[in-house]
Symmetry: C2
Subunit: 192 residues, 2 copies
């Protein structure tokens, strides 16, 4: 069915666009070119998904499987995800053009109620656990957005992703949860 497929593509576009915004801001805050480059790659994927979705929606509209208004709404929602993805790419551009931002400006990206942190996992309760198993997000208010392991990046993090000692985790979440989260990752705190 076209609707189910359209739904899946729209969901993937929305999730990728939001991940891109997080990665792009992280690239600026941590002066990390690799993260910025990943944003570019993700943008290509979002573009492709959008093309695919548009074709699908128009085909379904012609086949009368979708009402005209509904088809337009889906195209608009997809366009919005792509617009957010484009904005993320522009943020990544600030990093890629390697402009040395004044620390005060850099802080403005850091000082939201939500913050982005980078932490190295030491011997701790997180090691060899699946993210879904430890309910990190609901217990600490911090979301893992990406992991760097042995020089390789993992961006498609989900509940089945296993955390390993030595991982460098990029996470986003409530300012007040940061200290607790870092203590857990570094093994100083045993209770999640």
């Amino acid at each position: 069915m076209g609707k189910k497929e359209a739904k899946d593509i729209l969901l993937e576009m929305k999730n990728k666009a939001e991940l891109m915004v997080d990665l792009a801001y992280s690239s600026v805050i941590y002066d990390n070119i690799e993260l910025a480059e990943e944003v570019y790659e993700l943008e290509d994927m979002v573009d492709e998904l959008n093309d695919k979705l548009q074709k699908l929606v128009i085909r379904d509209a012609i086949a009368r499987e979708l009402e005209e208004n509904e088809a337009l709404a889906i195209i608009q929602l997809a366009y919005c995800a792509e617009a957010i993805a484009d904005a993320a790419r522009e943020i990544a551009d600030v990093e890629l053009r390697d402009i040395e931002l004044h620390p005060i400006i850099r802080e403005s990206v850091l000082e939201s109620d939500e913050v982005l942190v980078k932490v190295k996992v030491l011997s701790s309760v997180l090691c060899d656990k699946k993210l879904g198993e430890i309910d990190l997000a609901s217990n600490t208010g911090m979301w893992v957005i990406a992991i760097k392991r042995n020089g390789e990046w993992i961006y498609n993090v989900d509940k089945d992703t296993v955390i390993k000692e030595g991982d460098i985790i990029f996470a986003r979440g409530a300012r007040e949860g940061v200290e607790h989260f870092i203590s857990i990752a570094e093994g100083r705190e045993k209770n999640i």
Copy 2:
């Protein structure tokens, strides 16, 4: 100093743009026109902030208080926040044009790892507490994005916002934290 002021405006733009995306998706999911209208009002505010920031940055660049590259980077970061705000307004448009989306498409907005929920606060541990006091975000992984109280909306929620019985809370967070959060708000669960 111009840099401090530029930083504050950039931070406000970023926060407002992200709030707008949350409110816009909430308006679609909960078929709520008021939320969509609020997105429009916030967009005007973001536009004004952007105008103000651009003037400030150009003035500082002329006065040699900002380097040319740095001025361009600030303008670009602000432009990105505005682009995200514009995308949010387009999402709100889907609600305002009152298109009846197929439930399967509506779900695609709901089915992210992060979800948006709406809950009415009953007699519970949340009542008469400040958000900062209960560390809701770090304890449940759910963020309050807006509150409706006695028919009035509160969007500028922060750590000093006090929750009252009867409040309707819109929150965003980890799917796995939703049930716990709703139990707390409805008074069935006493431990946050």
